[in-house]
Symmetry: C2
Subunit: 461 residues, 2 copies
């Protein structure tokens, strides 16, 4: 109760404080709602769905936002990508294919939970250059991680989720921070980064990006699953009998049945189209929707299943649409840009190394306010890069650091990336846990990348 | 399989036929997709969700519609009203309040299923003038009808849904055709009608509308539940022991508990705000969302319930958003207007009585193509009224007939009104059944209103 009052009071106080700088009253009011919503989730005053519903009602009833804008998040293309990928993942599990892949992985790497985590991260990293959307990639990874959790006996219930599921899911979204940073073509925003950097005279190539990212990413890939293993440990660590059990399960399952084949074909078709989406103009959400339709049409995923188990997909879709809308409206109203300019303006007189460090840290920390990696990229990348150059930071170094940060800050909050959303919707991870474990992952990534500064400077120049 | 091929072939044939009149190729292609989608549902080739998903993928992949437009239905205000009303209805059931109201009704009127149907229709008609949105009103009626079905032993399963549920649900949406036509303030579109009619010199008042509508509406109210009782009969007709059982159940339930009181208060608050929405500028969807948030915040409706039973709400939300978008895009591209002008142009030389009859019938029949009552109103009301006046039909007569038709054609297809959607999403009604029973209701309503022509002519002049 105290927490709830605190959240409401915080919102009211910010609301009535006069806006600073040249922020409009509308943007300031929106910030009051958004900030208290994020706070509510952070301190666990309200569940994320409820906080979002109240936020939506508040911005409309106070006249802060027009209804049309307030509902705009629900028709965002990637919201429908998340929704369809979420449902396709359920079909992959239902068909039995998820189970088979999980069993194959467990038979090979299942001696302990840590190995499985590395296995997820390596798979993600290897397929990443071909899948230019981290949301789509999370749609590929999630059913595998979900099947791994289920088949090591972890279900999304309060008493069972922590045995292996929570840990593996957290490793899944952590893995996306690295795989997206490593390859220029692993996240849609990276291509925008390249274009903006170009305007500042920094020419990024596929090979140059990979080379600069390789050292910190490989270190991250080695350290992070282990760091989570210590800090956010699975309840079940050693599974010596799992490999044996998986082997006999696979023998019981026999060869792949018709449903599994169909699912495999549809899934490979989706992966191919998602891969092509960078080259040809295919909307990634439509790929997801078509894949889902194919799985329903072939009877792999029956409508009864959707009715019985679509509730969590709906929940995720609602809260994320609302939070995304709040953040992007805040951005559109110039709030984010003003904050960026003000903060970076304070750093102009520092030595370039101090400016470089502070700008990087601030760029990462400010992502607490964003519900989309690309939105922050568009709002702040150029501002931060410009200030850094004025302060004497080598342009290529700063451009690469901000580019990498745009990827690895994706677990700083549950809503920090569209790639997280399906994993959190699974019921294995609580928002509060993501704030804590994701915060730690972000700090580790930040340190690794900052320590790699000489390498990046050397490679990029 | 033959049905599926037929649907796809129909779509392809229309697609490649050159468009008639001045319809653009884009509008024609959209019509090809829309028509085959409606056909697929009508002949039961695909379930409505699957047909909609394929339609969505088709219009985007063929480049007929831009992605942004194709997804626009998902953020329509009333889509979120339907979604929230659907979830609030589940909360009303879950709280036990739905059960209590149902038991009170059964104890009083439960001797047979027909009486319960009349009871639903009368309740709806009495509250209608105060609820200026038939979608919102369906959100009020639905939990009561749902509880009545459940408490007479009918569940949304293939073997149990037809005992009472299907019939009562069908009576629920049929009742909305009458209650909306009777009162000027019972449907949002009616107020638009009044404005358009004004431009043609027809002054409609609350009292005048009520008087003109009263005779045909009262006849409809008497005939329709009985007609459905014959044509779309409940499996369970006589329930002589139900009143006794309800009485003892009520005694067992004891006085209202805390959850029921909270639900009642929230629900009354929502009804009040929905009622005020006509006077003050309150968005009806936000009322639904706030109500849902209150029920979640007070623990009446727990998030676990949403996760476990939100799947059918999601299903309904998806297909209706897509069909609505297709229909409204078809409208925006001028397709509907062209059809209206062409059809009505053919009637210009007829005697006014023939023109009047044909225009009314066509106006109703053309609603097969619309997924919103208001959209058809905006597209065709003025065109049809103008043609009628040119052909010598008394302006007030035609204006009232079209105004009433805009309400009573709402059950001609499952997607013909936002008011139907929750009822169909319940699982008690199959789309094919609504096409058949709803078609019959529409024909009966059409006949009743046409027979009432002298009355309307007398009252309106």
């Amino acid at each position: 109760m105290i927490k709830k009052i605190l959240v409401v009071l915080t919102g009211i106080v910010i609301w009535f404080v006069p806006p600073v700088w040249d922020i409009s009253t509308q943007a300031w009011h929106l910030f009051a709602v958004f900030f208290s919503t994020i706070l509510a989730v952070l301190i666990n005053a309200f569940p994320i769905l409820l906080a979002s519903l109240f936020a939506l009602a508040s911005v409309v009833l106070t006249g802060t936002l027009d209804v049309k804008l307030a509902f705009s998040g629900f028709s965002e293309s990637f919201m429908l990508l998340i929704l369809s990928a979420f449902l396709v993942a359920k079909a992959v599990i239902k068909s039995g294919l998820g189970r088979r892949v999980a069993m194959l992985l467990i038979r090979r790497f299942g001696k302990n939970t840590l190995r499985l985590a590395y296995c997820i991260a390596v798979t993600d990293t290897l397929i990443a250059p071909a899948i230019p959307s981290n949301t789509a990639r999370s749609g590929i990874l999630f059913p595998i991680v979900n099947a791994l959790a289920l088949d090591t006996g972890s279900h999304p219930t309060p008493d069972s989720r922590k045995t292996t599921g929570s840990y593996l899911m957290m490793c899944g979204i952590t893995s996306l921070t690295i795989s997206s940073a490593l390859w220029m073509t692993a996240m849609a925003g990276n291509l925008i980064t390249v274009e903006i950097a170009q305007q500042f005279g920094v020419h990024m190539t596929f090979g140059g990006w990979f080379l600069a990212a390789s050292l910190p990413c490989i270190i991250g890939l080695i350290i992070l699953p282990y760091a989570l293993y210590i800090y956010f440990p699975p309840g079940l660590k050693e599974t010596p009998e799992a490999m044996q059990a998986a082997d006999s399960t696979l023998q019981q399952m026999g060869p792949m049945n018709k449903k599994e084949w169909i699912t495999l074909l549809v899934f490979l078709g989706m992966v191919t189209m998602w891969g092509l989406a960078g080259i040809v103009n295919i909307n990634t959400a439509i790929v997801g929707i078509l894949g889902l339709a194919m799985l329903i049409a072939t009877g792999v995923y029956r409508l009864e299943y959707l009715r019985a188990e679509g509730g969590d997909a709906l929940e995720t879709y609602i809260w994320f649409s609302i939070l995304y809308m709040l953040s992007s409206q805040l951005n559109d109203l110039g709030f984010m840009h003003t904050i960026g300019v003000q903060i970076s303006g304070l750093l102009q007189d520092l030595h370039w190394i101090s400016a470089y460090l502070l700008l990087t840290i601030l760029y990462v920390a400010i992502h607490y306010l964003f519900v989309s990696q690309t939105a922050q990229l568009l709002a702040l990348f150029a501002v931060f890069l410009e200030v850094a150059i004025l302060a004497g930071v080598p342009a290529a170094l700063m451009a690469f650091m901000l580019a990498f940060a745009t990827n690895y800050f994706s677990v700083i909050t549950p809503q920090a990336s569209t790639g997280n959303v399906i994993f959190i919707g699974s019921g294995y991870l609580l928002p509060g846990e993501v704030y804590r474990a994701g915060g730690m992952v972000t700090v580790i990534n930040l340190i690794i990348f900052l320590l790699a500064t000489p390498w990046i400077l050397w490679v990029a120049s």
